[in-house]
């Protein structure tokens, strides 16, 4: 006890061993935290989905499943392509930079079928006719839960509960083959 204690040496040792200890904890943390990432199985289930568009008629819509989300694919009619720009004033965000169909193709629209309000599934109403919710309806999506309205490109109308346009999932076109989940 009477021997002199080299305080500097002790301080240096404290710092070094503290660093080594911190590295140990961090090193142990890496595998345990990484294990929570999607596994290969989840990645396989969440992999991209392919769809052949050749049999989808103009004006029709199909629903695909991708990552447990319904994906709406709409083959726009010529009149719809003409009508869509007319609605620019009625929608909250015209999203012109995304193009008229909001997809990588000028005649198809690809949307996540999840209402941006409270995640209900909007219904497809392509008819151009007066509706209970809109006398000047030019076709689009109507959410039965809380009455949100979207046009055929999934753009949300002003004055409805949904705040933003329907989301466009990553997708790419290769001829008639549409791939959802991958950008070309």
């Amino acid at each position: 006890m009477s021997k002199k204690i080299d305080q500097n040496r002790r301080r240096a040792l404290h710092i070094t061993s503290g660093i080594v200890g911190a590295v140990t904890v961090a090193g142990f943390a890496v595998p345990f935290l990484s294990a929570w990432n999607p596994s290969e199985k989840a990645k396989a289930l969440g992999a991209s989905v392919k769809f052949n568009l050749s049999k989808l008629e103009a004006g029709a819509m199909v629903v695909l499943e991708w990552r447990r989300t319904p994906i709406f694919i709409v083959h726009q009619t010529l009149s719809a392509i003409e009508n869509l720009p007319k609605l620019d004033a009625k929608v909250t965000n015209p999203a012109k930079e995304e193009g008229i169909t909001r997809s990588a193709n000028s005649s198809y629209t690809v949307l996540k079928g999840v209402c941006t309000h409270l995640s209900c599934a909007p219904k497809y109403h392509p008819e151009i006719e007066p509706k209970a919710w809109d006398q000047e309806w030019l076709g689009g999506f109507f959410c039965p839960c809380h009455g949100s309205k979207f046009d055929l490109a999934g753009r949300v109308y002003k004055g409805v509960p949904a705040p933003t346009n329907l989301e466009v999932p990553p997708h790419s076109f290769d001829g008639d083959m549409l791939t959802i989940g991958e950008v070309g």
Partner: protein, 414 residues
């Protein structure tokens, strides 16, 4: 900062005795200055227990506890989960490490009389921990649902069936089915991940509380409490922190070097840690050619197999007698504190008989362990029977030879 801290601590201490308990169990708790390497296994056991709990929780996140899904989910962990293979190998290697450390820790206790008055309860809680660890290991080994999981569990469960009168019904009740099946797997899962670990945590706490009440021992068997300085600190003692904590750190480092060498370079442990047949899914129509227990049960399994005779006069079959002797081989450890009548604690000051007894005991244990992993033949059965005898004799005769043998004088100080 310090002042603020102190006022916070005093606020806390008035409501919850943090400082008192920290000082009592961690910082100021006096431990003997001079101990040998045998005294590190307790600390390492705490480390490996934590490794098992944490890796176990993570494995549980990805494991499926059904008959159909269990085996595939282990391969899912090995292949599809990021670092899943590391968790699994750490857990399987950890099981072996746990037993390895446990056996050394207990052998230390036997050598240096760590069970003698007033440490009986420390030893007793420890023996319960060994028993729980064996149960935990057995339950966990069933979970991967490989061939060895299935057939080894079958062997052990049929032991319960050997109990007269209630045996067969008891076995069916434990299995939850007429055969070992998914029903058994599910309940073993619940026991393995919740019930047994909870009991183990409780017993570890009891073990340590009891130890801190009576004080840690040393290889000399000297009572350090006898000589104190003016502050009441034993002259041969030092506070737990920093002296004991810092001396454990390099040992933990060495332990991890060995542990990770196995995890990364020999996770199968030469077929002793992960047995080959367990890489094949359980098949109830096909018994593996040779059922061997994992190495850490091998000594006890050997004892079980060595009993090839029953007591027909009492209607006891060889199977049931084997079960009794097997159970006795663990049970006898519990009563060691009351078998040892020696005036001294440490083997260093005990007489010749104690030394011979300890060597015979350890040698039989190791030999039994070796034999347990090998297929039986006549010679091996004979050797196992002799070793079983020499496993029990040193313990059974302990009250006699420890009382009469000549012991050496124990010094006053370390």
């Amino acid at each position: 900062m310090n002042k603020q801290n102190n006022s916070f601590m005093s606020w806390l201490d008035k409501r919850f005795p943090v400082t008192e308990n920290l000082e009592r169990h961690l910082t100021k708790h006096p431990v003997p200055k001079k101990v040998n390497f045998f005294y590190i296994f307790g600390a390492l056991l705490m480390v490996i227990f934590m490794v098992q709990v944490i890796t176990g929780i993570w494995l549980m996140m990805f494991y499926t506890n059904t008959e159909e899904g269990a085996f595939a989910s282990v391969e899912y962990i090995m292949r599809d989960v990021e670092y899943g293979w590391l968790m699994r190998y750490m857990h399987s290697t950890g099981a072996s490490a746990f037993f390895f450390l446990m056996y050394f820790h207990m052998f230390r206790g036997l050598l240096y009389g760590s069970y003698q008055k007033p440490k009986e309860l420390v030893w007793l809680f420890g023996c319960f921990l060994l028993f729980l660890l064996m149960a935990e290991g057995f339950l966990g080994y069933v979970l991967p649902w490989g061939q060895m999981s299935y057939w080894a569990a079958n062997v052990i469960l049929s032991l319960f069936g050997a109990i007269p009168v209630i045996g067969p019904d008891l076995q069916v009740w434990i299995q939850g089915d007429y055969v070992l099946s998914g029903a058994t797997l599910s309940r073993f899962f619940a026991l393995h991940v919740v019930v047994v670990p909870l009991l183990m945590i409780a017993l570890v706490v009891f073990h340590i509380f009891a130890l801190h009440e009576v004080g840690a021992g040393n290889p000399e068997g000297v009572d350090i409490e006898k000589h104190r300085d003016e502050k009441g600190m034993p002259l041969d003692g030092a506070p737990f922190h920093p002296y004991k904590t810092f001396s454990a750190l390099p040992a933990i480092g060495i332990f991890f070097v060995i542990f990770f060498s196995i995890v990364f370079f020999a996770p199968e442990g030469g077929g002793y840690f992960l047995e080959k047949p367990n890489f094949e899914e359980a098949n109830f129509l096909k018994t593996p050619e040779h059922i061997a227990p994992v190495w850490y049960y091998a000594p006890f399994y050997s004892i079980l197999r060595a009993i090839t005779f029953g007591i027909p006069l009492l209607g006891i079959t060889s199977k049931f007698l084997g079960f009794i002797i097997f159970a006795a081989s663990i049970a006898i450890l519990f009563v060691v504190p009351w078998l040892d009548r020696s005036k001294v604690q440490s083997i260093r000051y005990k007489g010749m008989y104690s030394k011979i007894g300890m060597i015979l005991f350890a040698a039989s244990f190791i030999t039994l362990g070796y034999l347990g992993t090998k297929p039986v033949n006549e010679l091996r059965t004979l050797i196992a029977q002799i070793c079983t005898l020499f496993y029990f004799l040193p313990l059974i005769l302990m009250p006699i030879y420890t009382k009469y043998e000549k012991t050496l004088e124990v010094p006053e100080r370390l």
